[in-house]
């Protein structure tokens, strides 16, 4: 293959795989938005908290799997506590009130995690090296990271499970019902508190997965909270309520920002990767404000 084509494929694949990583973070937002109509500002802090807890346990000599299970338990407990302490007193309040509460939660989580585990950065290893896959580089001379493929596989599996869960099961349906209308959900016998507890626990689990993947890539440090910002354009494109949308949005953002960096970047003196995603999201807002897979709300007048 000509070198230009190989290069293009490498850039594209790298972008798509990075996009999957964004999608992982976006997924946490979508879950909570779907079930409570709340944009959970604290998702980034949850990612950071999960990764930091896991890595700190491992560094203290815990077995990998034990640390994983314990961290998961911590995230679930955190989700349940959030429901009990933050959300339950705010039932039937305006969504902006709930949103503000999640901003408060962000600072509490960020402070708490550094208070418990300290603020120094940590490296993280999951046993899968971030090196090009042998087979691809020998066969096609294309360099694609083994770890990226692994992360993509995990994200894909997670999305598939969650999509089925939301669409086909009783609890999933109850989650959607609660998001749609609190009063009506109560009247058909869906206990709101239960549902919120479940969804925050699941969001905690997703935050843990995202935290691990991003932790390997960037190290576990405070900057991890900012990956949430990259999830925003993904959500704008994919739609706040769609699980598959999070993946598609992630892929679009990942691919366009890498391609733009390589092929358009030189005209701007490089470094456009860090803001190009927002430009794409803005353009999308002009054309399709509800996102690709979002629900279009029509109000009767």
């Amino acid at each position: 293959m000509p070198i230009e084509v190989v290069f293009f494929i490498e850039v594209l694949a790298g972008g798509l795989l990075a996009g999957v990583m964004y999608a992982l973070v976006a997924l946490g937002f979508v879950l909570i938005y779907k079930a409570s109509g709340v944009f959970n500002f604290a998702q980034g802090a949850m990612v950071f908290f999960a990764a930091l807890t896991f890595v700190s346990l491992v560094e203290r000599g815990w077995n990998f799997w034990l640390a994983l299970v314990v961290t998961l338990a911590v995230m679930v407990v955190l989700g349940l506590a959030t429901e009990r302490v933050v959300l339950r007193p705010l039932v039937n309040q305006a969504q902006i009130t709930l949103f503000m509460a999640t901003i408060g939660l962000t600072f509490v989580l960020e402070g708490l995690s550094q208070l418990i585990w300290g603020s120094q950065p940590h490296g993280l290893e999951l046993g899968i090296a971030d090196v090009p896959m042998d087979w691809l580089s020998q066969q096609w001379n294309i360099n694609i990271s083994q770890f990226d493929l692994f992360a993509a596989f995990i994200a894909g599996a997670l999305v598939a499970v969650l999509a089925v869960f939301f669409q086909k099961t009783r609890i999933g349906r109850a989650l959607r019902a609660v998001a749609d209308d609190h009063q009506a959900a109560l009247a058909v016998g869906i206990p709101l508190q239960h549902i919120w507890a479940i969804v925050w626990a699941v969001a905690g689990f997703v935050a843990l997965v995202a935290g691990l993947m991003w932790g390997v890539r960037n190290g576990v440090q405070f900057a991890l909270t900012f990956v949430a910002l990259k999830a925003l354009p993904v959500l704008l494109i994919g739609g706040f309520e769609s699980i598959p949308g999070a993946i598609i949005g992630g892929l679009i953002i990942g691919a366009t920002e890498k391609l733009a960096e390589v092929y358009v970047g030189p005209y701007f003196g490089g470094g456009i990767e860090s803001w190009f995603a927002y430009v794409v999201a803005l353009l999308f807002l002009l054309v399709r404000p509800e996102g690709l897979f979002g629900e279009k709300h029509i109000d009767r007048v």
Partner: protein
């Protein structure tokens, strides 16, 4: 008596919505609550399914006495309801909306569902069958897959009835089921209410503004005015009660 209300009083600050109201509902009957605007009809219904907690009085349901209930508790006991302003899940399909009504009948655990395991799938199918029967019963087969938000008002009301029925309730509370409907839709709704009462044996408590409709289909009628009960009896008794006539037509002082 399947349901009885004793001395219920409900106030919002200084506004007394209900004042020492008592009445009862026999098993299998259609019981109407009527009254002019602001008489406290909707408040009464909201007390029955636990949306409002009365300051005074008790509710007896199937030999058990409650001071008040919570909505999901009421639902678990077998009290289902519809709303005056339709509270459906607008973004979800008709089928999904009705399936939420089965929520309390389904018991598969979180893990089974998360993994979409065999028991969860079988349970889903079983309940889907029941829901399909209700869909046939209410003649809404053709809109099964339509998101509820896109349906006309009359059909939305019918879907809401279907969702309430899906819970196989012992008592069904209907808040102005015919409000805002044209004549044909009203007739359809009357037929469905009577059929539900007849075929499933469901006890029905309904609020209605339209006197004509109520008198035709209910067995007994409670009349409220300014939060107080002013009459209680068969449609004929109520129709000829001087207090009721005064309340509806107004009197000169």
């Amino acid at each position: 008596m399947i349901l009885s209300v004793e001395n219920v009083s409900l106030a919002f600050g200084g506004v007394k919505a209900l004042r020492e109201v008592s009445f009862d509902v026999k098993e299998h009957e259609i019981r109407a609550i009527i009254g002019p605007n602001g008489a406290g009809k909707s408040s009464m219904l909201n007390v029955l399914n636990g949306v409002y907690h009365p300051q005074q009085g008790t509710i007896r349901f199937q030999q058990k006495t409650f001071k008040d209930m919570d909505p999901h508790e009421a639902a678990a006991l077998g009290i289902a309801r519809t709303f005056q302003n339709i509270a459906l899940f607008k973004g979800m399909t008709v089928l999904d909306n009705i399936m939420t009504g089965r929520n309390l009948k389904m018991h598969c655990g979180f893990l089974h569902q998360a993994l979409w395991a065999g028991p969860a799938r079988r349970e889903e199918l079983k309940h889907r069958r029941t829901v399909e029967e209700i869909i046939d019963f209410l003649e809404i087969q053709h809109i099964r897959r339509t998101p509820v938000g896109r349906l006309p008002y009359g059909l939305q009301k019918r879907v809401e009835l279907a969702r309430a029925l899906a819970a196989e309730p012992k008592v069904l509370l209907l808040d102005e089921p015919m409000a805002g409907m044209n004549l044909e839709e009203k007739q359809d709704m009357c037929r469905f209410v009577l059929d539900v009462n007849d075929q499933f044996g469901t006890t029905i408590v309904l609020i209605e503004h339209d006197m004509g409709v109520v008198m035709d289909i209910s067995d007994r009628v409670v009349v409220l005015d300014y939060g107080k009960k002013i009459a209680d009896g068969t449609p004929d008794e109520v129709r000829n009660d001087q207090k009721v006539i005064d309340a509806y037509l107004g009197v000169t002082h």
